[in-house]
């Protein structure tokens, strides 16, 4: 069985799991973990969109 993901969905799944680990390992309390995890997720996904638009601008 081969799993085929689009680049975008692969990036989203990557961002989700990496953010969970970052949140848990980099903060001390549950509330801080949740906030930092969400912050990392937003940065990851924001980075994907920013990179996408940057490449679009370079292409045009």
């Amino acid at each position: 069985m081969t799993l085929t993901l689009s680049h975008f969905s692969a990036a989203l799944i990557f961002a989700l799991f990496a953010s969970i680990v970052f949140g848990i390992t980099q903060r001390n309390t549950a509330r801080e973990m949740l906030r930092y995890g969400a912050y990392c997720f937003v940065l990851f996904v924001g980075g994907v969109f920013a990179g996408g638009w940057l490449m679009w601008l370079l292409r045009h």
Binding site: T4, L5, A10, A18, I20, I24
Partner: protein
């Protein structure tokens, strides 16, 4: 205005608060936490009864590794060739038990004709690197540096 003052007060209190110092486990327990955390993602946290955190770390690291294998990513062997191959091995071996089981099963050969296989290779490496972070976190919990 009042909210800004409150936030400033909170930040000041946080900056002045001493770093957390919990009970330090025995040396044997610290060593066990590090080794178990390497072999089983989140295992170090389970050993110290941090069930929720351990479960989330296990699911995250294992899911990334399994998705990488399902995308036919490559699992690196120990090698002394190209620098990137050596670093790939270092990342992969961080996944501990998942790495050894997949090597024993002979999976993770990589399919260069598939674009998604390259994503898979990166997923596998990153799952190992994330597990290194879990190991360090388990160590910090064991020495009492983190709740």
């Amino acid at each position: 205005m009042a909210e800004a003052t409150l936030n400033a007060k909170e930040s000041k209190e946080k900056a002045e608060a001493p770093p957390y110092q919990g009970p330090r486990q025995s040396t044997a327990m610290i060593t066990a936490a590090v080794v178990v955390a390497w072999l089983v993602p989140g295992g170090g946290h389970f050993l110290m009864k941090r069930w929720g955190r351990g479960a989330l770390l296990l699911v995250s690291v294992a899911a990334m590794f399994v998705l990488g294998v399902l995308m036919e990513g490559k699992i690196y062997h120990a090698n002394t060739g190209d620098l990137l191959d050596m670093l790939g091995f270092v990342g992969d071996v961080g996944a501990g038990g998942l790495y050894f089981v997949s090597r024993l099963m002979g999976i993770g050969r990589g399919a260069i004709e598939l674009a998604t296989a390259d994503y898979g290779t990166k997923y596998i490496i990153v799952s190992g690197l994330l597990n290194f972070m879990c190991i360090v976190d388990a160590y910090h919990v064991a020495i009492g540096k983190k709740p």
